[in-house]
């Protein structure tokens, strides 16, 4: 397969807008942005230090061909999916979905920021819940807490102790699941078959898009 990033960069040369339109989910909406700023102003995360670029700036950077800056940006990963931008956009641009689309694309071609916490959570959550069709809460939190080493992991676990105890008492968290597989969904084979099929369909769709027309 080779280096996806180089392949894509070569294919689209200096047309990053076209690359996003064809490769990123909902990317075709980017050109509809009229730079009014309502999305950015409505975004609850834009007070955060980690917020590199507001959505409207991402859209403008795509048009300006700032490929490296966009793909490596933290912004898409900061999205909380509150959908404020989506419902308010005067052009009905599905901003939330576009941001997710760009994030997924950046990850797919290996250009997303390294050690990005949201990305790490997404990946961990996905692997965890697709394995048995159910989320293993103990393993999920373990993986997340100990991401940055044993010391910080223990510290985080101690901080969340009372929440964990509450969950245990109400039967939402079984500490015994730290070993073994944990609870599973009823039709594990079925869910795996579904996921495999979905992956196959998506690969087909993306391959069709990736084939240069003409």
């Amino acid at each position: 397969m080779g280096d996806m990033n180089t392949q894509m960069a070569d294919r689209y040369k200096n047309n990053f807008l076209k690359e996003i339109e064809e490769q990123a989910e909902m990317g075709e909406w980017v050109k509809m942005c009229m730079q009014c700023g309502l999305c950015s102003g409505s975004c609850p995360t834009n007070f955060q230090a980690g917020w590199d670029h507001p959505p409207q700036e991402i859209f403008m950077m795509i048009r300006a061909g700032k490929r490296d800056e966009v793909l490596a940006s933290n912004s898409m990963w900061m999205c909380t999916s509150c959908y404020n931008c989506y419902v308010r956009c005067p052009r009905k641009v599905p901003v939330t979905h576009v941001m997710h689309g760009i994030a997924e694309y950046a990850y797919r071609i290996g250009r997303s920021p390294k050690n990005q916490p949201t990305q790490h959570l997404s990946k961990t959550f996905w692997d965890n819940c697709t394995k048995y069709g159910r989320v293993n809460e103990v393993k999920l939190t373990q993986t997340l807490y100990f991401k940055d080493g044993i010391g910080s992991g223990i510290k985080k676990a101690m901080e969340m102790q009372s929440v964990a105890m509450g969950l245990v008492k109400s039967g939402r968290l079984n500490l015994m699941e730290a070993v073994g597989g944990g609870h599973k969904c009823k039709d594990l084979k079925g869910i795996h078959a579904m996921l495999t099929k979905a992956k196959e369909l998506e690969a087909q769709r993306k391959a069709a898009k990736a084939t240069p027309a003409g």
Binding site: G37, S40, G41, S42, N46, H53, P54, C89, P90
Partner: protein, 427 residues
């Protein structure tokens, strides 16, 4: 009973604002019979509710006065006020129209002496001033009102206040037993000029119109600046009556928005640019205006006007659609958003926020009691299916006064052609 003389050679004009008056006058001055129907008790529509016109900054009363003189001098126009068209049947060249007339409770003897207004105690909302104040229930809608006749509000009919109004009238003009009536009339062609209304600002929830007293609309700001308005022309903010020296204008409030009005309302950029002049005139260098915009659409020959406002150091421009208005402890509205130039977040307090509301047709195409083609915003579109009904002014599109008058003249010409055909057939 009101009697109306009309035949198939008559042109009916629905709406007595600047477009309707223009269409009626243009047609009548070529010798056609015209019936002009107006819902309000006075002519002039939203135009007379403006303080000044752009681009010349002259007062609408001036232009209106000329039109009224033309109207008074022309015996071919019959004006029906407090009247609404309720039904249209027939076809091009032979329409049959029913018009509902609401009682004014004041007859033609009225000299507008004002005694009834002084005597009556009850007060009602001042619609002419967009409900920014109260007026007596016996009132002259505005100083320029035509016809210059008082109106007795139906709420005091049958009350002692109504009897007082009748008793003080020296001219026997108050008729409390007037009834609503429906008249029918014929017309060969209809000019539909029902104009516009400002978009309902409370639907733009994040701007807090209706929740924050110091967030007002552009049409209300016109009334605040007008010496005949509720504040006597002083720009005072509603919450505490403080002088509003630091005014924010938010463009595209409702317009160019798929969730609200899909169209560009065209006049709002110019209206806000014009209104910065009001702030400058009222407070000199102490008056500051900030225009928040997506892009300024000073269309046509108005670029000049825009450049002049831009050159004023007391007016600043922020390229951003404000995302949210909040209120600080002093009751100042605070504009929140991200500036497109530099992508920096801002939270700026102002004394007063003016929403540059867009226009929507006051009667949507589908509410017209006849088959008329209209677009998704409800504006009338030119189409053969409209037959002898012609849209004029803001019933057809978002227009400024200048363009509305052009549109009305064009509609008058089309209507004239229809009744000319009828005349030839009947000759």
């Amino acid at each position: 009973m009101t009697s109306v003389v009309a035949t198939n050679q008559t042109i009916l004009v629905v709406g007595g604002g600047i477009s309707g008056m223009t269409a009626a006058l243009e047609a009548a001055e070529t010798g056609k019979q015209v019936v002009l129907v107006e819902k309000n008790p006075y002519l002039g529509g939203r135009t007379v509710q403006l303080y000044r016109y752009f681009p010349k900054m002259c007062h609408p009363t001036c232009g209106l006065e000329i039109n009224l003189r033309r109207l008074k001098a022309n015996p071919r126009i019959q004006v029906l006020t407090m009247a609404e068209v309720t039904g249209i049947s027939g076809d091009k060249g032979a329409y049959n129209i029913s018009v509902k007339l609401k009682p004014r409770y004041v007859n033609e003897n009225c000299t507008a002496c004002g005694e009834c207004g002084k005597a009556v105690k009850a007060e009602i909302d001042d619609e002419f001033n967009y409900n920014l104040g109260k007026i007596k229930a016996a009132y002259l809608p505005s100083s320029m009102a035509y016809p210059q006749r008082y109106v007795i509000d139906s709420s005091i009919v049958g009350t002692p206040d109504g009897e007082v109004a009748k008793a003080v009238c020296k001219y026997n003009a108050v008729e409390l037993d007037m009834q609503e009536e429906v008249v029918t009339l014929n017309a060969g062609a209809i000019v539909w000029a029902t104009g516009w209304q400002p978009y309902d600002a409370s639907k733009i929830v994040y701007y807090g119109y209706g929740r924050f007293p110091n967030v007002i609309s552009n049409v209300e700001f016109e009334r605040l600046a007008d010496p005949h308005g509720p504040t006597g022309g002083k720009i005072l903010r509603p919450s505490d009556g403080k002088e509003a020296k630091n005014v924010a204008f938010i463009q595209c409030a409702g317009s160019r928005d798929e969730n609200h009005l899909r169209h560009c309302s065209r006049f709002c950029c110019m209206a806000s640019l014009k209104q910065t002049h009001y702030v400058q005139e009222a407070f000199g260098n102490a008056g500051k205006s900030t225009i928040y915009y997506i892009d300024i659409r000073a269309i046509d020959r108005f670029e000049d006007f825009y450049q002049n406002v831009k050159a004023n150091p007391n007016v600043s421009f922020v390229k951003s659609k404000v995302a949210r208005i909040t209120e600080d402890k002093e009751g100042n509205p605070v504009c929140n958003g991200v500036n497109v130039e530099g992508y920096k977040r801002y939270a700026t307090a102002h004394d007063l926020v003016v929403l540059a509301l867009g226009m929507e047709p006051s009667v949507k195409g589908m509410d017209i009691p006849a088959e008329v083609m209209s677009d998704s915003s409800g504006f009338i579109m030119a189409d053969p299916v409209n037959a002898g009904i012609f849209g004029a002014g803001c019933a057809t599109n978002a227009l400024d006064v200048n363009r509305a008058v052009q549109s009305a003249t064009a509609a008058a010409l089309r209507a004239i052609q229809v009744v000319n055909k009828v005349a030839r057939a009947e000759a």
